[in-house]
């Protein structure tokens, strides 16, 4: 039972925590504000930006006209969704079998899968780059989707495994006793119970793939470039246009910020490999 706390204490706590929240969130808040300003106003002193200038929505259409936001957006969507779904297709059977038909080797296999995630990408950058060049996969959505799927596959399997392991096994055995086939068991018994876990897994992996910025920057040029690369293209001279840069940034992060709000629990479980729940 929570103890009764005076309103005053609560107000003080709220003020302290609120300040932290404001400071952490301020950079995001600031680009939201700047994205609705003209270029001339955006580089004025902060107080003038806030109180001494008008608002405009022209930046968003200008960003689209100048660097084709929607092309990059759709690349991001295709790559992150595609890699997540492809990963699920491979991970669900694997996680299922490890959670419900564990063998002596299961732990070893899981740990080994985790170890592939520990490999620094630069360790394999050169060969992957050369293989992709020779196969014509450089700057292609298919190539990037496959890479994203592979780098997130250990996380997908681990997350699903920790969720599946929590499903009481007796229910599955009961279904089996009633004569359900393996297929029926998976489709009608396991899946409905596993849906929340699968949903969280999907959410986290979309976020991870969306924000991945090592392979996306190194394996794409223009055709398949997702939003990470789209923003990186604003880094040189164009970066001086604060309002447009802000609008482009907001357009790149807004979808994930919204998804992220729903995924806090999944994030803890997925990124700590079940060590903290």
């Amino acid at each position: 039972m929570a103890r009764a706390v005076s309103t005053r204490t609560k107000a003080v706590n709220t003020a302290i925590a609120g300040t932290l929240g404001f400071v952490m969130f301020f950079p995001i808040l600031w680009i939201i504000i700047l994205s609705f300003k003209t270029e001339e106003d955006a580089i004025r002193a902060p107080l003038e930006v806030l109180f001494g200038s008008g608002w405009t929505t022209e930046n968003f259409s200008k960003v689209q006209a100048r660097s084709d936001y929607f092309k990059h957006f759709s690349n991001s969507v295709i790559i992150s969704l595609g890699s997540t779904l492809l990963g699920l297709l491979i991970a669900i059977p694997a996680a299922w079998s490890m959670a419900f038909v564990p063998s002596k080797r299961t732990k070893g296999v899981l740990m080994w899968m985790l170890s592939t995630k520990m490999m620094p990408p630069v360790g394999v950058l050169v060969p992957i780059y050369l293989i992709f060049r020779d196969l014509g996969l450089l700057d292609s959505r298919i190539g990037l989707t496959i890479v994203m799927m592979l780098i997130n596959l250990p996380i997908i399997i681990w997350m699903l495994f920790t969720y599946f392991r929590e499903i009481p096994r007796e229910i599955l055995e009961a279904a089996r006793m009633d004569g359900a086939s393996l297929k029926a068991e998976i489709l009608y018994v396991l899946t409905p119970m596993a849906v929340p876990g699968i949903a969280s897994t999907i959410l986290l992996n979309i976020i991870l793939a969306w924000n991945e910025a090592f392979w996306t920057l190194n394996l794409t040029a223009s055709k398949a470039a997702p939003l990470t690369a789209f923003i990186a293209s604003y880094s040189s001279p164009e970066g001086l246009f604060h309002a447009k840069l802000s609008a482009a940034s907001i357009m790149a992060i807004a979808p994930i910020l919204i998804l992220g709000w729903f995924s806090q629990k999944a994030l803890v479980r997925g990124l700590t490999f079940g060590a903290v729940k």
């Binding site: 706390v5 302290i16 950079p27 600031w30 038909v101 520990m118 630069v122 050169v126 079940g274 060590a275």
Partner: protein, 290 residues
Amino acid sequence: MATKASRTAARMMISPAVILLFAWMIVPLVLTLYFSFLRYNLLKLGKRPFVAWENYYWFLTDPSFTAAIVNTLVLVGGVLLITVFGGILFALLLDRPMFGQGIIRIMVIAPFFVMPTVSALIWKNMFMNPVNGIFGRIAVGLGYPPVDFFGQMPLASVIIIVAWQWLPFATLILLTALQSLDQEQLEASEMDGANWPSRFWYIMLPHLARAITVVILIQTIFLLSVFAEIRVTTNGGPGTASTTLTYLVYVSSLLQYDVGSGSAGGIIAVILANIVAIFLMRMIGKNLDA
């Protein structure tokens, strides 16, 4: 109770994942190892002679390698310090009863969802730019000369950016751990007269120890591979002042087309990451038995 048939089925279901991951890990790694023993430049056609340890020799004796190792350690260490201490503080402050906890928590966590290229550019242009950045304006407003962040303290600037992204992660993990602490235990100790510092030191901190270890290990794995933040802000400079091992490998292999030397650097990075990984795996493995 698994029957023989279901064991076979289980093996079949797991094999695509195992085969794919095996191929993904082993094939490129073996190739990297192989390239690291060749004199191999993408711009030079023709023979790629076997040169044994020459690439390693040149990579390891290059002054920028020493700089890169030091920078990598400073970057990882600096971000870890900020995020672990900050994370504990944030988690403690956020765990207390308050109004609008959900909204405040979302605001604290939000930076984690910002893609690395965006956060690097926001900080670079809107905050750390000496002319138009907010920090510069504040300094001038107070009568001080503005700081040229990426010129004068490039690595520290990168650390600030990366720490801003990872502090929410540490906070979220530690907050989750803190919330699983048995409240009755705390109340009992309070009744027995334990003051706040001793409650923190003897009850909360031991309870958080595991989560803190996990935060350190997982962040280390990710921080060793920080790339976009450097690429977008300093490009490793000025000179090698903010070049990390990851960035150095990128420079030698994809900018200087020296595959041999880049591969040698890649192998060194793999070895370093493995040292961290062994500890992390042990922790997670223990948890698997529980």
